[in-house]
């Protein structure tokens, strides 16, 4: 009985870790969707690129003789967030701004093209091999009886949770308390009207992409170092899941993305723990279909009223 409990706790830990990543990436999808109503299909690739940048910085620092995990992760985080934001900004500028205001299918195809492009760009630049990294933070707390099942809470997981929560709080403060955050909210309310009121909406949209990319970069560095393996294809399926999480929570709503990410992470961890790891994707997509059937606007989303 106790073993069962600790197994459950362990799955919960797994779920929270995965959920943190989903939530961070889902924010990028949900903010972009909230403002210009498009699915930024290339967002998963942005996450993957940030992982690569993080790895490069960590390798560079390690070769310079830095071995403090704190410095390594902080350095990787700063560089990855900066460069990945530039990526987000540029992607919007190159692939989405020229097609804005046309049929939404056009933007979606452009995004799919961008996703294929970025994936292969990294494959060409870095080869498609797996790149592995030794764990930076080792050790952890264990619970449970030593004879039966032991649940382990590694320090790295705690690091991930703390940074995720900090990033979420920072984002919430930015969106609710600052002038630019207010401009972002105004844009998602009514883009045309915001423009009339003298706010540079083009800049706000680009900023949204940059913020989304920065959030993905946090997830990219953390999950990259946690799993220790990356390749050019990790972004796609993770991006898909994160989008699912955003829809689950109600697309366009930032708390919804956080909630949806956590729910999806836990659902997947439970499936992997109790059913079979192969079917976790089936369960998450099945969950999505179910939620959409009964609550088409997601858990925290607002129902949209169609106007003539």
């Amino acid at each position: 009985m106790a073993d069962q409990f600790y197994l459950f706790i362990q799955q919960l830990f797994n779920g929270f870790t995965l959920g943190s990543a989903y939530a961070l990436i889902a924010i990028g999808y949900t903010m972009v969707y909230g403002i210009i109503g498009m699915i930024n299909f290339a967002h998963g690739e942005v996450y993957m690129i940030s992982s690569y940048i993080g790895f490069i910085v960590i390798a560079a620092l390690m070769m310079m003789g830095v071995d403090s995990a704190f410095l390594l992760i902080t350095g990787a985080m700063i560089v990855a967030i900066t460069l990945t934001s530039v990526y987000g900004f540029s992607i919007e500028r190159v692939a989405y701004r020229p097609v804005r205001g046309q049929n939404r299918l056009i933007a979606l195809i452009s995004a799919i093209g961008m996703s294929i492009f970025l994936q292969n760009y990294v494959r060409v630049g870095q080869s498609s091999r797996d790149i592995a990294m030794p764990p930076l933070v080792e050790g952890g707390w264990t619970f449970g009886n030593p004879d039966g099942f032991e649940a382990t809470l590694t320090y790295m997981r705690v690091v991930i949770w703390v940074i995720t929560i900090a990033a979420m709080i920072a984002l919430t403060l930015f969106v609710t308390r600052t002038k630019m955050g207010r401009a972002c909210r105004a844009c998602s309310e009514d883009l045309g009207m915001t423009n009339l009121l003298g706010i540079n909406t083009n800049f706000i949209i680009a900023l949204t992409f940059a913020i989304g990319a920065a959030m993905a970069a946090v997830a990219g560095v953390l999950l990259g170092t946690f799993y220790g393996v990356i390749n050019p294809y990790v972004g796609f399926i993770l991006g898909l899941k994160a989008f699912t999480a955003a829809v689950l929570g109600g697309i366009g709503s930032i708390p919804g993305a956080m909630l949806g990410g956590m729910l999806l992470g836990i659902a997947e961890a439970m499936t992997a723990g109790y059913l079979s790891a192969e079917y976790k994707d089936v369960v998450s997509f099945g969950l999505l279909i179910l939620v959409l059937l009964f609550r088409p606007y997601g858990i925290l989303g607002k129902p949209e009223v169609e106007k003539v």
């Binding site: 790895f55 390798a59 460069l83 046309q102 799919i112 959409l292």
Partner: protein, 429 residues
């Protein structure tokens, strides 16, 4: 807003270097479990620098370049060939000639690789035509189209493997199964709005692929099904030797030398007939009330509902017809390849089919056919650059959307154009 043009040109160049340097300029590698980096070969650095300089100068002289492009476009005389070609009489003659040529060329010029590519193109045309009904005509964004393709392929593969069904027996069943899958998926989800529908269909496609991958005891898992029977001509087989219980072989029946090319030609002709049938049926459907309803619903859902049209039935019919076409194409694919595995039904296939529909011009059958040819033949031609193939594919998709979002051949409907010059003159008089 006046900015120093020099600075304005410098920013994109610097941003480009920032973007390209970490990924292209530095190589990550694993050395005895340690993570190391090293500078990429000097050639890569040169490329980055050259590209950055090029971006700088293009941005610096952007105004003169733009002006040059505009004058060039105006200078090139627009040919009046198109208006001649679309005259009904000329069109009909051209079509008949084209179809005849398509039927006859394999006999005049026997080329294995040519036939191979042609069959691939025809399969993609079939898929493109099917998805065109869903996306182009009914305006329903389906990102999991490859799921129905997989249902069709595996229906034939499994029926053949377990029960020995022949291609001809399985073809209608495969179409029916795909239609059933489309109907079952469509019934609940077609109430959703555009983007939600897109993500649900995407999820459906992934679920199908994962199930095929993991139900190892039934579908053979990642290895898939091998040794699927090829199609026969009224029971005549195209193998060198007759299988047990077979009626006769093609070359034996006609008393000719065995040649594997016969089978390729036969499959090619079969695909051609299937595609022509698809074109005909969909073309007819488009002119029927149901086809009009698809387009009306795409243009304005609320107006359609207030006119008393059943939203669910119209969407469902488009969805099911699209799925059926994919089912046929799938079972044909299985018969042509002889082996199927979940690897053939990944999301990127859905993306390619969608790209065919959008690049061709949504709703336009000629456009879809053209795009299918371009998207299948180009990668074959660019074999030498296979490393950069998908890179170019992705880049081209983006560029196409920016420069020509309406596709190669936008859908045109019959219309009469008033001669505005004439009218102006007449009103002036």
């Amino acid at each position: 807003m006046m900015r120093n043009p020099f600075v304005a040109a410098l920013i994109p160049a610097v941003v480009f270097v920032l973007l390209a340097l970490p990924i292209l300029g530095i190589d990550l590698l694993n050395e005895s479990l340690m993570l190391k980096i090293q500078a990429a070969p000097a050639a890569d650095w040169m490329m980055i620098i050259i590209a950055a300089v090029a971006i700088f100068f293009i941005q610096l002289f952007r105004k003169p370049i733009d002006a040059g492009v505009t004058t060039f476009k105006e200078a090139v005389p627009s040919l009046n060939l198109k208006s001649y070609l679309v005259q009904p009489k000329v069109m009909r003659l051209l079509t008949i000639f084209l179809i005849l040529a398509l039927f006859l060329w394999p006999f005049l010029y026997e080329s294995r690789s040519g036939l191979d590519i042609s069959i691939k193109v025809l399969i993609y045309i079939m898929l493109g035509l099917g998805l065109n009904v869903v996306v182009g005509l009914a305006g329903l964004l389906d990102l999991g189209y490859v799921g129905f393709y997989a249902v069709g392929a595996y229906t034939y593969g499994l029926l053949n493997y377990y029960f020995g069904f022949s291609f001809w027996m399985a073809l209608p069943i495969a179409g029916g199964m795909a239609a059933l899958a489309g109907f079952l998926l469509g019934f609940p989800v077609l109430r959703l709005r555009g983007d939600y529908l897109a993500i649900v269909t995407l999820g459906f496609g992934e679920i199908i692929r994962i199930l095929l991958n993991n139900l190892t005891s039934i579908t053979g898992g990642p290895n898939g099904i091998t040794g699927i029977d090829r199609p026969t001509l009224f029971g005549l087989e195209f193998n060198r030797k007759l299988r047990d219980g077979g009626w006769d072989t093609f070359h034996g029946f006609f008393g000719i030398e065995y040649d594997p090319i016969y089978r390729m030609i036969f499959i090619y002709l079969l695909a051609l007939i299937l595609v022509l049938l698809c074109i005909y049926v969909i073309n007819r459907l488009q002119r029927m009330p149901i086809g009009r309803a698809w387009e009306a619903l795409r243009e304005d859902e609320i107006a359609c509902r207030s006119l008393g049209m059943s939203r669910t039935m119209i969407k469902l019919s488009a969805f099911t017809i699209g799925a059926t076409t994919a089912g046929f194409a799938g079972s044909f694919f299985a018969a042509y390849q002889g082996t199927i595995s979940p690897e053939s039904f990944v999301f990127i296939e859905s993306a390619i089919i969608l790209a065919i529909v959008v690049l061709g011009g949504m709703g336009s059958q000629v456009g879809v056919i053209l795009a299918a040819i371009v998207l299948t033949v180009l990668p074959e031609v660019a074999r030498e650059f296979s490393q950069f193939r998908m890179l170019m594919f992705g880049g081209l998709m983006v560029l196409m959307m920016i420069w020509r979002p309406q596709g190669f051949m936008p859908m045109t409907r019959p219309h009469i154009q008033l001669n505005s010059d004439k009218i102006q003159k007449e009103t002036a008089q």
